[in-house]
């Protein structure tokens, strides 16, 4: 139940944050990378750093993580199969993987794990379509029902929570 409340909170905050639709969309796409790929991976530290340092929507990123993490559990068999195809089933790529595997730091990303590689490739492939779709969606939302929601009791409840204060620290700068 708490997870659902958090998810709603993320959605509301992301959609009504101060960022532009583009900032929300990029934040969401970056969050999707963290959500889709196994959390304890080196590349996720880099993505997390980018979310913090780049002027993208932090609630958007949290929304990406919240939405795509449960999805990732469902899609894991697919990621596993894709990763296996790339790592084992495509001999033409073996020299590339061999080079990367023997390059400092790269193996720390666990790229040679079927689930990690499959999910990371999926997240990267989805990155641009996700940015475009989210930017369009957020803009449409704000132009249509956004203002009505902003005046609703639910919105006031959400924005009154403590988490909102944390968000304010990372809200995008115009």
């Amino acid at each position: 139940m708490l997870a659902i409340v958090k998810l709603i909170q993320s959605i509301v905050k992301a959609l009504h944050s101060d960022g532009t639709p583009g900032q929300v969309a990029i934040g969401l796409a970056l969050g999707a990378i963290i959500g889709l790929t196994p959390l304890m991976s080196l590349h996720n530290a880099v993505v997390f750093g980018l979310i913090i340092i780049l002027n993208v929507s932090f609630p958007g990123a949290l929304l990406g993580i919240a939405v795509f993490t449960p999805l990732a559990f469902l899609l894991d068999p697919l990621f596993d199969a894709l990763g296996r195809l790339l790592l084992v089933g495509t001999p033409a790529l073996t020299p590339l993987w061999t080079e990367l595997y023997n390059t400092p730091v790269v193996p720390l990303t666990d790229f040679n794990n079927t689930v990690v590689l499959g999910s990371l490739v999926t997240a990267l492939v989805l990155f641009v379509p996700l940015v475009l779709a989210a930017r369009w969606g957020v803009a449409r939302y704000r132009a249509t029902v956004g203002e009505r929601i902003r005046r609703s009791a639910l919105y006031r409840t959400v924005t009154a929570s403590k988490l909102y204060n944390v968000y304010r620290l990372f809200r995008p700068e115009a």
Partner: protein, 593 residues
């Protein structure tokens, strides 16, 4: 509308704080995480509990220290494979960036083997890595391939019961020979009939008669006769071919009949085993007494060799291994070894200080050296070697997985120490060898096996299980003979291949026990054997006689039939040739060969 800033500079502070928090977490928990991971991975790989009291990683100094390492035995619940007071590894830091562990030098102090433990160190199957589980199952199955004769002394008297005749090999083999003879006869006769010999002989004779009155100008008749002659020669070739086939078939059937004698010998042995008659030849006795103990030792050596092949595999091809457990699907890790790169794990050199029989009054200390232990032997390019030497102790091993065919060998000889007890299967006796010399060697070259286990103990004792029943007369005799022997010389040798291993065992007990048993039971045994042979003979004699008779009859019949056909064919051919020659005499251009 103002230009949107790309960077959120005010977040640099929290980001640095986050990085500092990560460093603090590493400092606080790295040792603990590394210790727990090492325990988990070691336990999964070895198939037995691995415990570490303390592990400290000093990255700046390039050093890892392990204190209080305990590795349980995967074969005995309350025994450790080894314990180590302290392991200090000087590591190369740079390869860590490639997630590879390269240990330049390892100092292992206070390594003790075979110590007892208070809790079970065995790990359930689900706690073992899949490869380890598979090796364990393979080795257990391998042990069952040996047929160790058991001392069958339970009855106490020699009893010859009725044989189940349906299980005698000779009967079914003789029936098979008879069936084969019948079906061969049917097939040959059908082939002979298919050649249509008789009508063609008759036709040739008729043609020869017509040629007697023919003139040289009857060209149609002459051509007909020539075709007929060619046909007869061809037919003669076919009959010869059939004759060769019949001869080969008869040879095969004769071999089958000769094989019935070997089957009868096997039936004698089968009958003896059925009626629980103790076998008195010495190699069987040795195998019955010590075979199980020998196999257990070779099984352990094979387990380690196979585990080595699993985790230190040859070759440079990408290698799949199950990934570490996580909340999400684990997936599979694929390793991509490459020449002139660091292997995933490498121990260049290890100095070991070892102690045997650490819990006894007379522990044996010695030193050893381990070189080139690596998870990718083809990358490292040299075999792993181990050697140890000390007072009355020599040990060595070579793990050569550099080439496509892995070769593993190892051996040790230890003298002057208390040897572990040996339980004698089928008897309530335990052999306590006392102090002596024990040697074990094992080699696995590809899938070829070679091994030896030797025990020399000059002052042995025998301990009887006090709760065991008194046993039969024969059992008491065997016990009396064995307990009268106070020195043991035992040698078990392993050979063959993984799929078909061979074990031979001999000991100084064999001859003594065999002679004593033969002296006491000799006459009774001989009578029982005669009775058994008579039973087997009476059961198999009719089938044997039938098979021999059928072979003789078939041989005669086939020879006669084929002989007659060939003779008549030759006569008809000769007759036709003669007549054709007479008709064509004087016609230029026509030659009868």
């Amino acid at each position: 509308m103002g230009r949107i800033k790309i960077f959120r500079w005010k977040a640099i502070g929290p980001l640095l704080l986050f990085a500092v928090a990560l460093v603090v977490l590493w400092w606080l928990f790295a040792d603990r995480v590394a210790r727990q991971t090492s325990e988990e991975v070691g336990t999964a790989i070895l198939g037995a509990r691995v415990d570490i009291d303390r592990l400290h990683i000093d990255l700046a100094g390039g050093r890892i220290e392990i204190r209080g390492l305990t590795v349980a035995s995967p074969f005995e619940a309350f025994r450790n494979l080894l314990q180590a007071d302290e392991l200090v590894a000087d590591i190369d830091v740079l390869p860590l960036l490639e997630k590879k562990v390269v240990i330049d030098r390892l100092a292992a102090n206070g390594l003790r083997f075979g110590t007892t433990r208070t809790t079970s160190g065995l790990v359930p199957r689900e706690g073992q890595a899949a490869a380890t589980r598979s090796v364990g199952a393979q080795v257990a199955e391998w042990g069952e391939r040996f047929r160790i004769p058991a001392l069958q002394l339970a009855g106490g008297t020699i009893d010859v019961g009725q044989l189940d005749l349906r299980r005698l090999e000779t009967v079914s083999a003789a029936e098979a020979v008879v069936t084969r003879a019948d079906s061969s006869r049917t097939a040959w006769m059908a082939q002979l009939a298919g050649l249509d010999v008789r009508p063609r002989i008759d036709s040739a004779r008729t043609l020869a008669e017509r040629l007697k009155t023919a003139r040289p100008t009857d060209l149609a008749l002459i051509n007909d006769a020539r075709r007929q002659l060619d046909g007869l020669k061809q037919l003669e070739g076919q009959v010869s071919g059939l004759e060769r086939a019949v001869r080969a078939g008869l040879d095969s059937l004769s071999a089958g009949v000769r094989g019935l004698e070997a089957a009868r010998q096997r039936d004698y042995a089968f009958a003896r085993s059925l009626v629980q008659l103790p076998s008195l030849d010495a190699p069987n006795l040795a195998a019955a007494l010590f075979g199980t103990a020998a196999i257990r030792r070779f099984q352990r050596a094979l387990y380690w060799a196979q585990l080595g092949r699993e985790y230190l595999p040859p070759g440079l091809r990408p290698r799949e291994t199950p990934a570490a457990k996580r909340l999400r699907r684990d997936g599979t890790d694929v390793r991509f070894p490459r020449e002139r790169a660091y292997p995933g794990f490498l121990l260049r050199e290890g100095e070991l200080s070892l102690t045997l029989a650490a819990e006894s009054n007379d522990p044996k200390s010695f030193s050893g050296r381990l070189e080139g232990l690596t998870s990718a032997p083809a990358v490292y390019g040299r075999p792993t070697t181990f050697s140890a030497r000390g007072p009355a102790v020599t040990a060595g091993a070579v793990i050569d997985h550099v080439t496509a065919t892995p070769r593993d060998s190892g051996g040790a000889e230890i003298g002057g120490m208390a040897l572990p007890a040996i339980t004698i299967p089928g008897l309530p006796l335990r052999l306590e060898p006392g102090r002596g010399t024990v040697g074990l060697s094992f080699a696995l070259d590809g899938d070829r096996l070679r091994g030896a286990w030797r025990v020399r103990a000059p002052a042995t004792s025998w301990v009887r299980d006090s709760a065991a029943p008194r046993g039969s007369d024969i059992q008491r005799l065997v016990e009396r003979v064995l307990t009268g022997i106070d020195q043991i010389e035992l040698a078990a040798e392993l050979g063959g291949s993984l799929a078909a291993p061979r074990l031979s065992v001999r000991s100084n007990l064999d001859a003594v026990l065999s002679q004593r048993l033969a002296a006491v039971l000799g006459e009774e045994v001989a009578t029982a054997e005669r009775k058994l042979r008579a039973q087997v003979d009476s059961a198999v004699a009719p089938q044997l006689a039938a098979a021999r008779q059928r072979l003789t009859a078939l041989s005669d019949d086939a020879a006669q039939r084929l002989g007659v056909e060939r003779t008549q064919l030759a006569e008809a051919e000769q007759l036709l040739e003669q007549q054709l020659r007479q008709v064509t005499r004087g016609i230029p251009g026509i030659r009868i060969p």
